[in-house]
Symmetry: C2
Subunit: 361 residues, 2 copies
């Protein structure tokens, strides 16, 4: 592989459009404007306060921070681009029509929509149809992100690579919701009473983490385990002390977050447990944030990352870092486990010379 | 990708030969005899005590533990196999002729020879020649193992995938040499005086870890860093207390192991530091074994695995687990970073249906 891949990318930069300039899309926009090897050739967002502005300014850079003269447009439009980064929603059914529009425009697609990390977990027919369309057009679709996409699935899969036997896997991501605004806090039940929390879970307003079915399927499928049953449980994290963020104050006896657990069984055997307690200021009750993966196998593995990998920064980074990997992959609907492992793009050598990219896709 | 890759492997098993039945080769032999989807069709080792014996017995299983009737042969021989696992030596120059013989026999090659993790780090011409031959024959060569191959390179690369900026990387593997015999202990200077240690480093008898140039190049190359300078340092770990293993006793003032450090510079900037102190019974002086990776970047990452991933079990496992990955890869000399991430092979689904394998390679 060396001779072809070690050459610096000397052709034209990879042309990217961003669809959705929320917190995540804007972070990715900043990275794409700053990193060598990319040209941001389009940006689409419905927010009237962003439409018409220069993209550098719209994503939070100084107006003169970039040579890009691209202006934000309110609707997706066909432009000459290699890849569309889609950062508009979480659910397969919401993003599938947008993915189709990008494919029809001849663009590969990378999305941080959580359900796209393994869309077969929630919609086999729709996933198969997207896969078929992408193959017919010679294009790739990839779902990625920190979680799902990395911590509770890809990183676990990677670690199993040094195991010959595995009895069970347990992993946990403990984070702090303090940086998040009211919309996110509401979906985790922050500020509710325990009764309101239970009602919110029942009526679907309190969702917890989006991505467990995807992560479980990615792991089980890769290891060759046939999933017989998946359980999900959402418990209120009731605080014993006052907790306060810039957006919300929670009193003792109220709910500070949602402890969401997913369990995966092969037959009657519990083989994978994923836990993701999301709450504001966990340290108020002495809970340390962090990522943990424990594999009961040969050899056993007990991994900790403290504090947890910061989700926002990581999701923006991995979406950008996967661009060359996705463009080098085979056409179709891809998952992280189908591609060479992610790596930071820090210099021009990492943008590999690739037939698909240089020839235009 | 889903439709093709999710199908269980329903054709014939992957046919494997093992070349070298030492501790590592024997472990791999046991895995290959036990796991579905593989057929061990040949085993070669010069040890007269193994030649002629049934392979199951030679690798330490009960003689009737496997249906395999393959007997160990003293010399490599052309058999009809998809892949040869090579576990005979550490150095590129030693294994290159053996790799050529396997390629000439039409076999893909997976080797745990440390220098093969990235042979370009030590022998560009020889690596290029192997790469060329493999491509011409439509075969693959892959170097893997726990270290180099995983902890101090692939796992680091994987983690950088969630980073947008990196100032520097520091990683460390602290292990216990107590399980190892006199040959390994000698190469780490265990039992010498500090003076003897320094002389041993100078005359090449005390080598420390084999693999730092490979790991450094794998990381730097993937990130797009141009290495300007690499330093390696081997320091004696002088014990303050008596330390004892089944094979060796070391007294206070004597050397209990080798602290081997490698540093990689871009310009004058220290960008990667890899440390691998190898000693007997580190806990005798309160040193905990473990793997640690620290990335000074955006986001920052601080990862610990405690205790360290057991090297012998992990090396055997990853060599076997990478077999289907390597067979699915493009022809040529491959590195771990060129292939989809490793994953444990636990069920038949993980042996993917693959053109190369089903059609015979």
């Amino acid at each position: 592989m060396e001779p072809a891949r070690s050459n610096p990318y000397t052709g034209r930069p990879i042309r990217v459009v961003i669809w959705g300039l929320g917190a995540m899309g804007s972070k990715m926009g900043r990275l794409l404007l700053e990193k060598p090897g990319f040209a941001l050739v389009g940006a689409f967002d419905r927010d009237p306060s962003k439409v018409g502005r220069q993209v550098a300014e719209a994503v939070g850079l100084q107006p003169d921070a970039s040579a890009s003269r691209v202006a934000v447009e309110g609707e997706f439009r066909v432009v000459d681009a290699d890849v569309a980064i889609l950062a508009t929603g979480s659910f397969l059914s919401d993003v599938a029509p947008l993915i189709r529009r990008a494919l029809d425009a001849g663009m590969n697609v990378i999305t941080i929509a959580e359900e796209m990390a393994d869309p077969w977990a929630v919609g086999k027919e729709l996933a198969d149809a997207l896969d078929r369309t992408a193959r017919e057009k010679g294009l790739r679709i990839l779902g990625t992100g920190i979680n799902p996409g990395f911590i509770l699935d890809s990183l676990i899969v990677m670690l199993t690579g040094v195991c010959s036997r595995i009895r069970s896997i347990r992993a946990e991501r403990v984070n702090d919701l303090a940086p998040y605004g009211p919309t996110v806090l509401r979906t985790q039940g922050v500020g509710t009473t325990p009764d309101e929390f239970q009602r919110g879970v029942k009526n679907g307003n309190i969702v917890g983490h989006i991505g467990f079915p995807q992560s479980l399927r990615l792991i089980a499928h890769t290891l060759g385990w046939n999933i017989d049953r998946v359980e999900e449980e959402r418990r209120p994290i009731v605080t014993n002390v006052p907790r306060r963020t810039a957006y919300m104050e929670v009193l003792p006896g109220q709910v500070a977050g949602c402890h969401h657990v997913a369990r995966c069984y092969v037959g009657d055997q519990l083989v994978i447990t994923l836990e993701h307690p999301q709450q504001i200021t966990p340290e108020a009750e002495g809970v340390q944030t962090g990522d943990r993966i424990q594999i009961d196998g040969v050899p056993p593995i007990d991994l900790q990352i403290r504090p947890e990998i910061a989700g926002g920064e990581a999701t923006a980074a991995i979406a950008v870092n996967m661009i060359p990997r996705a463009l080098e992959g085979p056409p179709g609907l891809l998952r992280m486990i189908d591609l060479p492992m992610p790596a930071a793009i820090l210099g021009p050598q990492a943008i590999w010379r690739h037939g698909g990219v240089l020839a235009g896709v």
